[in-house]
Symmetry: C2
Subunit: 229 residues, 2 copies
Amino acid sequence: MSTQQNRGDAIYASLRQAIIEQALKPGVKLPEDQIGEAFGVSRTSVRGALIRLSAESLVEMRPNRGAAVATPTLEEACDVFDMRRTLEREVVLRLCRNLSTRAIDALETHLGEQERALMAGGPRSIRLTGEFHILLAELTGSATLAQFVNQIVSRCSLILAHYGRPHSGECGCEEHARLVAALRERDAEAATRIMEHHLGAVQSRARLDGGENDPDVTEILSRYVRAAS
Amino acid sequence: MSTQQNRGDAIYASLRQAIIEQALKPGVKLPEDQIGEAFGVSRTSVRGALIRLSAESLVEMRPNRGAAVATPTLEEACDVFDMRRTLEREVVLRLCRNLSTRAIDALETHLGEQERALMAGGPRSIRLTGEFHILLAELTGSATLAQFVNQIVSRCSLILAHYGRPHSGECGCEEHARLVAALRERDAEAATRIMEHHLGAVQSRARLDGGENDPDVTEILSRYVRAAS
DNA sequence: TGGGATTTGTTCGTATGTATT
DNA sequence: GAATACATACGAACAAATCCC
């Protein structure tokens, strides 16, 4: 996760944020030349950034055909959300076992920022609600868990960009507050229940019910194919 | 996870296997020139492979100072093993909920290979015991979970190379067999208990008790530092 | 089917930064 | 502390593959 190249780092971070904030939407091509020109660098640095993003499944690189923002299938999307539930459940359980007062302070500070940003509106609010989940994971003290949560939350943002209903913000702020309250009481049962419900609400904002976006022609047609007499 | 560059792919896979099989031990420098020469390619392809490996925390890249096989700290090592427990517990739970007969067949086939390899001895045995855990994760049908398990098991191999007692094989084969038996019965309680015990045994082969390898001078000295008069 | 335009895959040269004597 | 040796960061150019007309 740490910084590895000088310029590649900046490009990586920028592209990542653009994807997470849904400015670069799934399927958008990412030509090395064009990106390099935008950043004022050559393709070499861009390439490194794209490789790192593809390792996180945020972009897809097809040999000789270039990179594009990943377009997760319905199956992948469901899988990612399931994994997110698994990981964040673990986060909550660990936090209930061991949570410092400093950590609770940090959460409530962040909560305040979220509320202010919500009133102000704008993309800042969307980003903060996502970062709340990452902060939770970091407060467990497990760098590995935090890294996995970071990855999976990012992928969820990507999925919502692809399958999400229009104007669906990521999270409701009130549930975050209720979760922090449960954590403060070390109430693992309530905390996991709230988190589960919360993530269910997030997931429900995606049309993962086999809906109508991005129809896979092959799959659709396969239902109509008959054996040639 | 999928293939992204033509030559980088081969280098990535080779380096990864070498690290997992503990042929390249933690701390070993990985100069781009030298690796490129070994593979008969230029540094560019090597660079891509190193970037991918660093994204998996198998190598560390320090700016302007090159890449080296990662040298996890004691804290990281414990963290990674904890995460492995979490993930593999989830694997077992999912498998108990939903396991096809084909899957059981695959497990038993693999089990047979492990036993034969164990009798034959050699590095093949070490690799297979690790791959058993990856196979388990794949059989859940969750690509994401499988990918995370793959990463974490690889990092555990690296840790055992660094902190492991000499000649400590990864796993005992019998416990794998007992686990498969429990899975066949859909006995979640027994399966998780066996997995937990099994991973505890693996972890215990590492000297993660704050032992004497690779002493961190700074950390040691910090216990002796006093405020200057 | 074919040819030109575009983009990727790769190599290599140069500059910059780090370690060493 | 300076100079040398060395490895990396970056960029430009060539070759090969793909796309488009």
